[in-house]
Subunit: 117 residues, 2 copies
Amino acid sequence: MTSPVIPSDVAGCCSPLDGGVLDDEAAVRLASMFKALSDPARVKLVSLIAAAADGEACVCDLTGPLGLSQPTVSHHLKLLTDAGVLIRQQRGRWAYYRVVPETLAATRRALDPLLAV
Amino acid sequence: MTSPVIPSDVAGCCSPLDGGVLDDEAAVRLASMFKALSDPARVKLVSLIAAAADGEACVCDLTGPLGLSQPTVSHHLKLLTDAGVLIRQQRGRWAYYRVVPETLAATRRALDPLLAV
């Protein structure tokens, strides 16, 4: 498991995928973002949370649509939170999750230069 | 290993990460694209090929900058080619690789809607 990537790190660190300028550290961080999204269940979780009312959802909202157990969903949510794709807020009994747009924007920026190839 | 994703599939299949509209098949395909890019060596390979003269590179150009053996680099190139991120053309002794911009454009489009969250 790689160390957590917080959004400000992500936004600041990621060189575009367009040159020898991509150093080892940037490659590791960028790959860790892609790895966080490299599982179909995690892609669906991000999709569901982004589409949720008020842009947030708790585990209790997500187990049904995914058809997975709460511990499995919580595990995927932890990986996404560690990678900076989601943020987590505990309120009473449940933890609520939101998408961090900056993380996905940084990922998108890293792909931009290749579109002109 | 997932089945190969060819660029036209990718461009056509991938629902944005913004709703319950993301069906299981689309989630699997999108995750497989992210998985192809989820390794630092593969991120660096894409970066190097995109920046290469004429937008193409052979294994012989790539082993040095990566500091990896030719079989290892060839393995990573095969995964990227199977995922539709690269295309491969054999010319004489060497295989040459190019980035497929459509694949990365489709990946980028899948991230777009989240930027407005």
